[in-house]
């Protein structure tokens, strides 16, 4: 078994590989990437809040998963492309099977950034999903559904 967060990332990665077959997809990546490998999707949990919600040591954890899609495209099309990606990505999340692990999840924030420094403009859409899952104290590998 692995930590519930790892299980979530692996499920999401698998769903996104199906939805975006031509993309490079990473469930954890820190090194820089060359532009000829674009488009790329990477994800990471940036924070998590936990609280005990019952006398039998049931923990409710709310973790924020940030899914970032980076593309290079003609500057006139970039924003339209990002909107299309968000539609596909949200649908893929719906079919990722997260309900087997997560009590509740929701898209809570979307951010956009771009850069026109290189030979092709780059743009990113970052979609933040908050995941609520339950675990028993001392065992963060088994989600209580």
């Amino acid at each position: 078994m692995a930590h519930v967060r790892t299980q979530i990332r692996n499920l999401v990665k698998s769903a996104l590989k199906t939805a975006f077959p031509s993309y490079s997809i990473f469930s954890s990546r820190k090194y820089a990437i060359n532009s000829d490998e674009l488009p790329v999707i990477d994800m990471k949990f940036l924070n998590e809040n936990s609280e005990t919600i019952s006398m039998d040591n049931l923990h409710q954890n709310t973790a924020s998963l940030y899914i970032r899609t980076t593309i290079a495209a003609a500057s006139e099309n970039l924003d339209d492309d990002l909107d299309s990606i968000s539609v596909l990505l949200d649908a893929a999340m719906d079919g990722a099977g997260l309900d087997n692990i997560v009590k509740h999840w929701d898209l809570v924030q979307t951010n956009f950034t771009d850069s026109a420094d290189g030979v092709k403009p780059l743009a990113e859409i970052v979609m933040r999903y908050d995941m609520v899952y339950h675990t028993r104290g001392g065992n963060s590998e088994v989600a209580i559904t």
């Binding site: 060359n34 970032r68 290079a72 290189g118 030979v119 780059l122 990113e124």
Partner: protein, 105 residues
């Protein structure tokens, strides 16, 4: 504007026999007009927010400003059989212009 003597020096510096090469440029009011200059596509770090850094070529063409009187955004420069669109350009004030290029593919 550069001094006349500097203009002569620039012609030498950007010539294909020195540091430059002949770039086939299609500019307004010109057709297939070759321009001598220096082509560069050094990779830079493009950092967007907190995401992965993307290494991408910053493609530029540097030449004498006097050769670019009709330059405009969207014009095509053909370098080594690859087409690039003119995105923007910077005059350095002493007779040299750096053109920033976008992949036209």
């Amino acid at each position: 504007m550069p001094m006349a003597c500097l203009e002569t020096d620039l012609d030498v510096i950007f010539s294909s026999s020195e540091f430059g090469e002949e770039i086939l440029a299609v500019l307004n009011n010109y057709t297939d007009k070759p321009i001598a200059g220096i082509f560069d596509d050094e990779h830079i770090d493009a950092q967007n927010g907190e995401g992965i850094t993307v290494l991408i070529p910053e493609t530029t063409f540097t030449c004498a400003s006097s050769k670019l009187q009709d330059i405009a955004e969207g014009q095509i420069l053909t370098v080594r059989n690859t087409d690039y669109k003119v995105r923007m350009w910077k005059h350095d004030g002493s007779g040299v212009t750096v053109i920033y290029l976008e992949d036209a593919c």
